[in-house]
Symmetry: C2
Subunit: 323 residues, 2 copies
């Protein structure tokens, strides 16, 4: 490379050795450096616009400040809850002097990680043990799940939905599942939590409604669901997007909400308050988790074991007009 300013340049400019420059710039307390010399170095560095070259630093053995987050199958634009968590985590990690880097991961994570040399890798693929160990040996760097305790997190929201609806006197529940196949695994978790909570509370077996993408079709399916005996009086949706579809179907077919059925979603989507009627939902406070998780990751980056931190299972209901 042509134009890189190195610490040798700074040393020459200041009329000192490279070691002295390094000591000053890194604030080494074990050395005694007179203020005059210190200023000479600082001035020279400033004048030349010196920036230490990361790769050389790492090569020398410095610990990387990078945390690499890999979320295969999760597009940035898609899951705004995950995106929110990642955003918050990035801020929290910065407090610990770490830098979160979110890579759009498909299969070829190797390439980036070679250049990145991160201190820690957080992978959402880590849930399945096979892919997990595969990653471990690919990186020779600590690999941890990106969303620890995700199953409990997902189930907790569904549990909160059912408990809330039961508390409001609803008895016959339906679960509105998404049709997209890639969501099937997480939907399955919600569905199980809804059934077991219903059973625990002594409610009849919940019904299942897979909501198609087509709006008119969704209306027909909702109508036929309401013909069941006993007819459902409440719908727990997989998330707020599915809940929007249910609300649209109800509106189109003239089903009063919450008069005939109550509808509740999950995630507290920003558009929820603007639905017709305004959508009740369920939300988990992740600020505590994010702070603890960031601290744990920082520990791992320093070579420690890192406490196990899990996403919250408890979820709060945000009550609006649809229930």
């Amino acid at each position: 490379m042509s134009g890189r300013v190195t610490s040798t340049d700074v040393a020459r400019e200041a009329g000192l050795s490279r070691a002295t420059v390094s000591y000053v710039l890194n604030g080494d307390t074990r050395q005694t450096i007179p203020e005059a010399t210190r200023q000479r170095v600082l001035d020279a560095a400033e004048r030349l616009g010196y920036r230490p070259y990361g790769p050389a630093r790492l090569l020398r053995g410095a610990r990387s400040t990078l945390v690499l987050m890999l979320t295969p199958g999760l597009q940035h634009a898609t899951d705004f809850v995950a995106a929110g968590i990642v955003t918050q985590l990035g801020l929290a990690l910065r407090e610990h002097g770490l830098h979160l880097v979110w890579q759009l991961g498909t299969e070829d994570e190797r390439g980036a990680s070679v250049d990145l040399a991160p201190a820690v890798v957080l992978s959402s693929a880590g849930e399945e043990e096979a892919a997990f160990t595969d990653l471990r040996q690919q990186f020779s760097v600590p690999v941890r799940p990106a969303f620890p305790g995700l199953d409990g997190f997902l189930a907790g929201a569904a549990t909160a939905q059912v408990e809330y609806l039961a508390g409001r006197g609803r008895r016959v529940l339906a679960y509105a599942a998404p049709s997209r196949p890639e969501l099937q695994p997480t939907s399955e978790i919600r569905w199980r939590a809804i059934r077991s909570t219903a059973e625990r509370l002594g409610l009849p077996e919940p019904l299942l409604l897979t909501v198609p993408d087509d709006r008119a079709q969704a209306g027909r399916e909702l109508a036929s669901l309401l013909d069941a005996d006993p007819a459902p009086d409440a719908v727990c949706a997989y998330n707020d997007e599915v809940a929007f579809a249910v609300l649209a179907a109800a509106h189109d077919t003239g089903v009063p909400v919450p008069g005939r059925i109550a509808v509740i979603g999950v995630d507290n989507h920003p558009l929820g308050p603007l639905a017709v009627p305004a959508l009740s939902t369920v939300e988990s406070d992740v600020t505590e988790f994010v702070a603890a998780f960031a601290a744990s990751v920082a520990g791992i980056a320093r070579g420690e074991e890192g406490a196990e931190v899990l996403l919250p299972e408890r979820a709060q209901v945000v009550e609006r007009a649809s229930t």
Copy 2:
């Protein structure tokens, strides 16, 4: 570090020199290597699980494959259109052997970039010239705008809204602006485009409606807007989220859509089809842009100048029930 497998280890394992190992692993065509030796190296590397150490490579002068995207003020969860573009760009760059890394940027971009040593930096702060040159000297790496031609892109959508509504016979337009202060600059661009297009088409001066967060309040403001003389018969919203707010306000106050006013948004939000009534919107096809931009960035990463590529100005209307 203790456990790192280096090419020296591989060489020892294979009973060859490090140079030979390097030639084999990098597929250097200028060397003649007998198949037997080649296999010996490959086997040894495989057996030891060798992965080249990126920082050392970079130090030696290799070009980084990383493209760093900095979007201060843009949270991952917030702007799903930008997120979609970034997602697509990441995929496209991979075709060129580059890896896009999206950093949640606030002010402290330095830290990460030191560790990252990217080949190119794409910054959305680049629009203002001051911050731009500041970044340039911070990185000593090519810095380019993350969303080139953004102003034209934003204005184009607004122009398409007005042209479409005029074509459908609407004459008195209102612009629904967001209330969030950080959106004011971009909103201003849309607003200007709407007024100038209306003027060009011979429509009366459009009205301005700043949509408050509170739903009831929004209803009142819409009602009073409709009292104007001449009364508006169409609303161009800043984006689909604002359009949702307008639809909610119209529904709450009993204003028929599209009977009395037509409503059109921007962005083709995934929930748009589920609005009441389904939301018409405007969408720009960015696939062509993304492909060209990725190629340009790849050129810059190779040290070339890089062709100037701009976001599309043309936008297509997605017609639904609200117009």
